[in-house]
Symmetry: C2
Amino acid sequence: MRIKNLLVFKVVIIIIFLVAVSCENKSEVVTEAKTTSEHPKLILTKQGVKDIRANIGQIPIFDKTLASTKKVVDAEISKGFDVPVPKDYSGGYTHETHKKNYVVMQKAGVLYQILDDAKYAKYVKDMLFEYAKQYPTWPIHPKPRSYARGKVFWQCLNDSNWLVYTSQAYDCIYNYLSEEERKTLETDLFKPFADYISKDNPQFFNRVHNHATWGNAAVGMIALAMDDDELLDRALNGVKVDNFNPDEKDNDGGYIRKDGQKIGFFANVDEPFSPDGYFTEGPYYQRYASYPFLIFAQAYQNIKPEQKVFSYKDSVLLKSVNALLNLTNAKGEFFLLNDAQKGMSYFNASLVSTVDIGYHFGGNNPELLSIAKMQNEVTLDDAGLAVALGIKEGKEKPFVKKSIELSDGANGDEGAVGILRSGNIELVFKYTAHGLSHGHFDKLSFALFEDGTEVIQDYGMSRFVNIEQKGGGNYLKENTTWSKQSIAHNTLVQNEKSQFKGKYDIGSKHHSNTYIFNVENENLQVASAKEENAYPGTKIHRTMVTIKDEDYVNPYVLDIMQVNSNSSNQYDLPFYFKGHIMQTNFDYNKLITPEILGNSDGYQHLYKEASSVVNGENIKLNWLLNNKFYTYSAVTFNKDEAILGRIGANDPDYNLRNEQTLILRKKNVKDALFVSTIESHGTYSPVSELAVNSYSNIDQIAVVYNSKEYTAVQINTKKGKQSIFIISNENASKKGKHSIEINKNTYQWIGPYYYSVIN
Amino acid sequence: MRIKNLLVFKVVIIIIFLVAVSCENKSEVVTEAKTTSEHPKLILTKQGVKDIRANIGQIPIFDKTLASTKKVVDAEISKGFDVPVPKDYSGGYTHETHKKNYVVMQKAGVLYQILDDAKYAKYVKDMLFEYAKQYPTWPIHPKPRSYARGKVFWQCLNDSNWLVYTSQAYDCIYNYLSEEERKTLETDLFKPFADYISKDNPQFFNRVHNHATWGNAAVGMIALAMDDDELLDRALNGVKVDNFNPDEKDNDGGYIRKDGQKIGFFANVDEPFSPDGYFTEGPYYQRYASYPFLIFAQAYQNIKPEQKVFSYKDSVLLKSVNALLNLTNAKGEFFLLNDAQKGMSYFNASLVSTVDIGYHFGGNNPELLSIAKMQNEVTLDDAGLAVALGIKEGKEKPFVKKSIELSDGANGDEGAVGILRSGNIELVFKYTAHGLSHGHFDKLSFALFEDGTEVIQDYGMSRFVNIEQKGGGNYLKENTTWSKQSIAHNTLVQNEKSQFKGKYDIGSKHHSNTYIFNVENENLQVASAKEENAYPGTKIHRTMVTIKDEDYVNPYVLDIMQVNSNSSNQYDLPFYFKGHIMQTNFDYNKLITPEILGNSDGYQHLYKEASSVVNGENIKLNWLLNNKFYTYSAVTFNKDEAILGRIGANDPDYNLRNEQTLILRKKNVKDALFVSTIESHGTYSPVSELAVNSYSNIDQIAVVYNSKEYTAVQINTKKGKQSIFIISNENASKKGKHSIEINKNTYQWIGPYYYSVIN
């Protein structure tokens, strides 16, 4: 086991001569192991500082970052600092001040190294001594909301953030301090600080969760900076405790830990990352966890290169960089999977580290340089230097995001996220595991983007991060009562109850399964998945297809959802289109005043504004968003109901966004088949006032065959073109030939699906 | 009178030697009068063509426009054209095809002249002959909605558009045609076409209205192209009719004509334009009318320079260019005054003409070049050449939009629009006349923009121009029942009835009046106006101030509305903030399901979502829009009511946008004083998740003095700064010293208002 090897490995001074590795695509930076007393060594290295100083003034993106960092830090130095007694939640003064302090200390430490100007070291030193003076006197933070309250902040999570940054600052000014000074800081501040977030809060530290990742990294970083093997062991293996309670949960309702579960840094790499580098909590939290994962890995690699942390689990940390970037839309914003705030993107500072570390330690992939160039910023360290040099030398290539399936689960066998990219369309189809405490009950849900604009939305989370006015910037109660519920997503809801009864315990035991993911043919990309546990006794099979056809301006989406149950149920399939309704082809009865749609499971937050009992013809909804025209066409069966709804009921504090949905409802049926298309077909200009192709291309879609084995859908355009898509509902991997007769025509094919223009 | 002079002026050939006028700021292009048989002469001139040909390839913006025009026309020529039998409303095939035809003909004519390639002339000729063949056989357009149905289109307005463009095409290929061919076109097509929109539709042609402007320009352009003096007289003076009905109205409810009103082109310049160049219908329609005004003026100037059309009414047509550009926000989008669709901007093609003509005929103002540069397009004629050369020579200067008051009314004495610009804030305050049939009942309303984003919105119109799905792209019934009503605006509504009883007849008789407009001090800009007719017996006086103070990040707005009535009333003051509510400082009772707010005058379209009886303290509404934090603070009096409402009731076709409002309501009072501030004070980044200055700077605002003569408001910041603003409610032009005592302090000043930091 690697950890034992590490402990055995007690040689203090080892010089491994630098081996230049120049493999084009996947070289690993082999770092020289240092004397442990040589500083800086965590993120900046002595050699790195030397190289940076040699290149300054000739590496534009680095120089620019350096200048803006200097400006920020100089302004702070001239203002002076404050170390207030902790009091507030996020958004409040003491919270924001301590947060600013660690950010500025880290930057000042770096400036001290690069610019060799003692004023920066002094600033860090003075602030650290102020912390060292006050920290021992502070009680547990007065705000009670967290399951693991910090001392500087209301939760240990933020205390860990502080230590991750401050460790770097300490490493940078290490040699500026006297041994006596170091001893004071380590004894009065760093060790008790590390103990508090680990020993004193095992419910926080001993987890597999992004909280613990921060905690592990924090303790690990300060351990490496102080050469403290005991703390390093704790970071890697967790803290030993006797009284472990397997039923304990955190504030988000997530379990603290499963019995017997491994803990510590590597456990946090092992479990949440799939072999593809997908992080089970989703990209919003991967972005957040990415920094401690990679910054600690970088430090660990720099100081203990023989441990080859970046090769761990088939280089999963490096793969995660690629996975994370692939989980963004055309604007670089993360897809909304599980708890996630809209607008978060690869322009976030933690992604600058992610990209730079990924480049420097992951074989200098030139595509990463194009992302770094857009970020227009690099880290002020060895990795950032490598990126700056790469850009300067014009090595960058476009980062091309293709259709991709990213498996979920430690072994990659717990479902996946399927992303279909075709033209300007990005379809995100979710058939993953639950995603720990940040998971939503939204198996087989999807979202659709065009040019980076959400067209069919995932609501995201009910939280305004760091906006104190909204519940202290923390999760709002509507996150539980609305955002996590199934009806808040574009997926099936049975009998107005959320999947897995809306229970984390149940949801966490299951995952959906990939049925097909085939994107070989750019014009016909298919993602298909099955969910058999969300509603016991009911099997759901959804197939999403993007079809590129010359008769359509843009690729369109075909969506087939097959539901089979052994009991009669009501099925609701919501469709959260964004934009303004232009037209429907069905008459609806608009209520004089809206009614609340239901009592629980999120339904209590939806207003019913209008409804219609449809007659078995296709229904069409035509809308305008962002000066583009879209149409949703759906096959209906007699007595299906279409409900036009709006989010916002039972929302006393205006926490929710009052956005629309169309719900297709089938009552009292065992089996159900939902088939629909989504087209982006036209444009509008408010400047020329010209509407182009404002109507759907499609005349009719029809289910022409439906059995246990096969489902066939025919799509007729207004121009008279007819095409057919057939999916084999069972046994996707069947080797032989499929053959069925539909309307006296025989269709034969090999593979799990068939598509052809038939007229 | 100028028109008589014109008719006397019968000399056919006059050569006035070109006089080069090189006055820096206000030169007028003196054009050589041409032989009337020399073509082209309307927009392109023979000399212009020569100059263009000489410069081609060396004038980038012109070359670019030429290349893209050529691409469009070549594509059309290779596709071939269609002249379908008229059938559809706008958005439909025949409408859009005829529209495309005139646009392409005009371009092809220009290309023929510039590129000297006969294929373009042939294309125009063939299409014109097809029209000449069919036009005489067409009945009146089958769609019945217009008060003046066209033949090619559903309304004479669009037929006039056709003729304005086609006259230019005809002028360009005039010399390509044989005399016989010209005779055929003129006899079978142009003369009957001109007769139909004038003689046969005097209710359309004999008006003062943008419709008539198009009609007059159309007949005038073809008259100039054909040298037809009788038609030119008709364009300038209207058509003689005997059976004039003064009670007749158009589809928008506007009167056709007042008895005894002058008609024809110059009457349309005289009446709607104020001496400042403000067009009474508002900028959206000015943009639309601008093209026929200026294109006809250009042709008239080119052919009859001795008439000095651009000098008419103290150069009002040239002033209108400047006025129109000043009526745009930071993004170049027109302010929403009266009927107006959001998003229309100076990037509209008609503004390219407007800017180029304004530059060429208005003294080569270098600021216009910077607008032309942003438009990245010029007209392919003499004016466009002048602009292209100006840009090439680097003459452009920034077009700086300052605070400005633009008077309304033919004589500039019917109120005004006051625009206060301070920092990134633009405040549009409306105290105009009614604005003809496109007017809204919104005296003393305002809107607020920051960086071109609407913060406090004017709803605009209920229409989706050219989007057939929405009522054929025409005005929707909600435009009358909602958009025009007072409650749809940020202004006072008495007893839930619109101003002027919501009646056009009454509204058209009155206008508000400027009381103060003083923007000399950039840090303290004041616009104040009075309205005494909207509700008989009630006087309304609103004062809007922008204040720049170092304690605030951005300038803030102080709004004081004084209402005095001789009867007890209910007063509602709505506040249409855009964005998401973060927090209010008052408790409100959110209804389980929304209720409809009222029965008529637009109230039937508002849902009441929540309400609060406030206690006389300041109320505060803090919201987030476009990642900026705003706060509205308002003085309240005991038992005032705050209503949170949403647009969308009684909207069976989802024609309305479901946006929010806060209504401050005072019941059963004769006099009322509404005082509030609007601050833009903070920012949020979803990428860094940092909220900066998310709360209001203001601790309290208080009315510290209020009499018939003076109102004083004190504003205290959270940092303890106190300032006072005093307005003299009567006699703004008083020369002597004002003096009042407030809380034992004596304030003395000269002028209609006073502002000072007092502590």
